[in-house]
Symmetry: C2
Subunit: 672 residues, 2 copies
């Protein structure tokens, strides 16, 4: 009953990872992150902020049992406002109340989604048992009518769906669907899927174009893309229609949210934060909360892909370009200001004030993947790869045990401690956050990375990211299989060998990375080859013995930003392939700002070891300003500065801050 | 009965300004600013935030009358909290309540102080009549016991003096004293002075080391320096003692404020914002709210100067150095962050995020003047002059009709409108503010500028700033007089002619500006001359015909910042004499960040006209990065940038933003 788009991601069951970069990360998530998160969800990690998530489901479940038992005698809770985050006064004596953020339910959904992906790639009976038990607890909290958000179930349903702007019922629905669909696809078990459908059906009964139904839409987007996914999994068109309804209503005037209680009617920029300032088809600049934005754009692309809506596709393309041409850091990070965790104005990309939230880059990857479904163009995959290897991976420590929300491109630890403007920038990763969005988002992305690496249509397998492992594809009745050995992201050698049992006539489309100056291919002589929008299409009869070898030139290169990025003017960054490099105090001493990079000189490749991991590193020719004599004067008459020869050791950006608190910088002034 | 320090400022009656730079500014304040402020105090300026200041005094005065009339039947208002700023719900129907900020009374005090200085230099019967009437209104509001803060008189006295940390009773006292002393000195009228003394006596009866008295101190400093001034004017030691008490108690543990209602006990940095985190003699870093800080340090210096307290003097020197060696912009601006309008950590001086409040630089001038009383050292006067000609003057438009709170060193108007991190930075001056501190502070400083330009002791007249005009000095029974013709700040030629009626034996000490590379003097051949700490002492018998001519070399020069100022690394600024220059979009087009200055080439001097005023300007050799071809890519492989020859037109920093909204920058990258 699958309603997938013509171009769609492969399922995780189609890919078996082999040793290499991504398998290692996936294993880290499987072994470290998912079990740790489960402990967090159950408030069992000392020193970490409690989630209260499973506790809330149990409290709601207890209420549901009582309701069933008492029947008409059951007294419904009457809504009491508990704030955006309700913390207990006394951790020792918790009551049967709701605790945590209004969106706390989504912690479970993100976890089950990550667990599902992990199970799909790597069966694990114990994890599946834990997951099944968790699902039982969650499903028991559902109301008879299908509603399932413990915030209102516990606090009082009389106010449910009355504050769509700030509260997160539709957001929780979205995450629940994502988790349920993933678990269903991984295990075939549909208990959670049915629960999610029932909740979606309830929402569908309340929202829609029909008279008398609510014309609202989510304050934090995600339901849009989740509902499309539910449509794809179940084939039920009402979910697609509901997603489209949310997309279509958004930003219409008069604003729906103006009718909600406590609506703050800021003229001019009203609802920009939520991307609801104007109808989505009229939006052409990425604005507001960056995570919300890319979740919305992903949902728009999903709906456009399913419906063929050209104006919606155009809006997606415009918003994509607004991000990648005007509002993205070189690391693929987005959201330049911590105020509202938002996009700033075009080309305002300060390195040391950046918000650059891990989740926003993850959302950018969601958006990129959907644009690839819309139209295979390596430009989308280039950005997907960039964000993945840099601003996303930097969100997690090399040991998978601590996390960044914020991924700045320049850090002076003293500033993070003493300058309130930079308090959002942390010089070291943290164990866990009260608002746990980034770590579980990282977990669900990394465990499902193969479905971003490959998409397929009837007769074509697209390889957007070269990952080592075996990928399978059904073509009519036949099963093609390719064994891939990839040096990515450290070198550009990629071997693709056909390992299917019988010959298959199909196309393999391999992305030519945008960062690659020249490249070579061997072994495709007998195929019909062509190149289009950054993909190399190898068409013909694939059979045992077929093996193509790509060699994408990958050498470290200097990069510059568009002149309009004031923070980067006169500065240079270093990338090798998709990986951005940075320099740290640990390798180069304090006062990184005194270095200037000499772009005319070659970059030397080397290795380094961080937390017992061997990593590539670079030596970049540089010069360092010699200390000026201490005059006791802050400003002195200009003297031509003196530089001494130096070199900068640079490491992959994602590996920064794994050696304690220290200075870091991506961009360096250009020397002469 | 004067108790002035050995070294003290001249009175304004000793100086008569002649045509020149400062007379013009003083006239602007007299003709434009003071009358405008009076209208503001009376809520008569359309489009400007109402002050409510005189209204509050009238309301309190009415209460006082009622109290007298009704006697025991009078019902005291019982305190109701009205917030830090109490605005009327309906501007059309104001009640007999307190409106405005808790410190609104000080608006009057600052105005009367400015008016007094103006009257001292320039008698004006109409202004004096207005001032006398205003004084009548204010004095009528005083309680029988001497208390005079309309916030509590109107809102309820039962809570008076219970929130010293946040409310501003002692601050209002301080400003009242400053205004009253100035008016007494200017006019000889003592009505307001007596009122201020009565209020001070009431506070003195409530605070002090004696058992049973309150051990608190001001949340916003100024009373300290004001009380020393009251001591100087009246000779009453209790005022000096009270000032010393406030200084001595400040920051002692346990913290007095902890005992106040609603005290927020932030560990670690508790009360840093108020400079009350530790005893003042143990402070060595300028921290917290910058205006509060320099007001405190000024009071500390006053007390130290009067008492000879060496540990207090040492603290003043340390704090002075902390500011000028680590926390001051090249314009003399201080307070690098808008968060708490505060100092940031050492060397954190971002140009485009600066707070750099006009009032903070004014306070720095207060502090500098007191350090000059402590020890004549041109280093203090250099900073006083720097702040005056740059960050202070930039607070006022050339026409005296609009004002800046914030004086950034780099502005991109788009950022001020779209990036909330820079919302405090305004690209154009504003007419008036609800919190009217900077405009009246500017008025009182500029009208009293001669008392900063000259200090004296028994036999020496110090000239810190060369202003055109005639200055008199009493030496024993004789009156010395000097006619000064000064080219400052535009050229370094200063002529000083003795114009006294009889010969006087004395020393004239002329500051050799720190910015001056070489200098010459003529006409001092018959005197005994010496040089010490930046002053040139000319000692001997001054008589008719004596005339010395100084020629301080003043040419435009390039400056650099200490390497630790990360925001200025690789950058150059331009100063000529005490005046910092900046470049504006109006002269140089958009995208000032694309310019690099060529420091090896000469600077050309020219003139410009802004708002019908002729002003010096400079042409600086530069190169401008040629626009990179549009690729649609935000980041591209590095290409050696191409620069085209250009020149930057630069104008005095204080004159920026007088031609509408546009880009501005003080610091430019250095070209090759």
């Amino acid at each position: 009953m699958s309603k997938k788009c013509a171009n769609h991601p492969i399922t995780l069951r189609q890919f078996q990872a082999a040793d290499g970069f991504w398998k290692e990360k996936m294993e880290l998530v499987r072994i470290e992150v998912i079990p740790y998160q489960w402990e967090i969800l159950n408030d069992r990690v000392e020193g970490a902020s409690p989630s209260f998530c499973m506790r809330n489901f149990k409290t709601a479940g207890k209420l549901m049992r009582e309701k069933k038992e008492k029947g008409a005698a059951f007294q419904e809770p009457v809504y009491t406002f508990r704030g955006f985050e309700a913390l207990p006064e006394d951790m020792e004596h918790l009551e049967d109340r709701f605790y945590g953020y209004v969106f706390q339910d989504s912690d479970f959904s993100k976890w089950i989604e990550a667990a599902a992906y992990s199970l799909a790639s790597h069966p694990d009976l114990e994890l599946e048992k834990t997951a099944d038990e968790a699902i039982d607890i969650v499903c028991a909290a559902q109301m008879e009518n299908g509603y399932l958000d413990t915030y209102y179930i516990i606090n009082g349903m009389d106010k449910s769906l009355t504050n769509l702007k700030d509260n997160h019922e539709l957001y929780c629905l979205g995450h629940l669907i994502e988790g349920a669909a993933a678990y269903y696809e991984a295990t075939g078990k549909d208990k959670l899927l049915k629960t999610a459908m029932k909740f979606a059906d309830y929402i569908d009964s309340r929202f829609g174009p029909q008279e008398g139904k609510c014309k609202g839409y989510p304050g934090h987007e995600i339901a849009e893309m989740a509902l499309v996914r539910l449509y794809e999994v179940t084939g039920e068109e009402r979910y697609l229609n509901l997603a489209r309804f949310f997309i279509d209503e958004r930003g219409k005037q008069p604003y729906y949210w103006d009718s909600e209680e406590g609506a703050e009617k800021k003229e001019g920029e009203r609802y920009q934060y939520h991307q609801a300032h104007r109808p989505v088809r009229e939006q052409d600049e990425a604005v507001g909360h960056a995570v919300r934005a890319v979740y919305l754009y992903s949902g728009m692309a999903d709906v456009a892909n399913q419906t063929g809506d050209e104006t919606l596709k155009e809006a997606c393309r415009r918003l994509w370009n607004s991000i990648v041409r005007e509002k993205m850091y070189i690391t693929g990070a987005i959201g330049a200001t911590h105020i509202g965790e938002s996009f700033s104005f075009p080309f305002d990309l300060p390195n040391n004030l950046a918000y650059a939230e891990t989740c926003a880059s993850i959302g950018l990857i969601f958006f990129a993947e959907r644009m690839l479904e819309m139209e295979p163009d390596a430009a989308y995959a280039d950005i997907m790869e960039l964000a993945l290897y840099n601003s996303v991976l930097s969100g997690m420590a090399l040991d998978g045990k601590s996390f960044f929300y914020v991924n700045p491109l320049e850090v002076l630890p003293e500033a993070c401690h003493k300058d309130e403007r930079k308090f959002h920038v942390k010089p070291v990763r943290q164990k866990w956050f009260g608002c746990a969005c980034c770590p579980p988002n990282l977990a669900r992305l990394i465990s499902s990375i193969p479905s971003y690496a490959f998409t397929e249509n009837e007769d074509t397998l697209y390889m957007h990211l070269a990952m080592s492992g075996t990928v399978q594809k059904q073509v009519s009745e036949k099963t093609a299989a390719f064994q891939i050995e990839s040096g990515m992201p450290w070198n550009g050698k990629v071997s693709i060998a056909f390992t299917g049992k019988e010959p298959v006539s199909m196309k393999l489309a391999v992305r030519i990375p945008g960062w690659c100056g020249s490249w070579q291919i061997q072994g495709a002589e007998d195929f019909c080859c062509s190149q289009d929008k950054g993909y190399y299409y190898i068409e013909g009869m694939w059979e045992a013995g077929c093996r193509v070898l790509f060699d994408f030139e990958m050498k470290p290169r200097f990069y510059q930003a568009d002149d309009r990025v004031r923070d980067d003017i006169g500065k240079i960054a270093v990338k090798k392939g998709p990986v951005v490099y940075c320099a740290e105090e640990a390798d180069n001493g304090k006062n990184l700002h005194l270095f200037r990079v000499l772009a005319s000189q070659p970059i030397e490749e080397t290795e380094t070891e961080i937390q017992n991991q061997k990593l590539p590193a670079l030596y970049v020719a540089a010069e360092k300003k010699t200390a000026v004599k201490e005059t006791g004067q802050l400003y002195t008459e200009y003297e031509k500065p003196v530089y001494e020869k130096a070199r900068l050791k640079m490491i992959p950006y994602f590996a920064w801050a794994n050696r304690g608190e220290n200075e870091m910088a991506v961009w360096f002034y250009e020397g002469e």
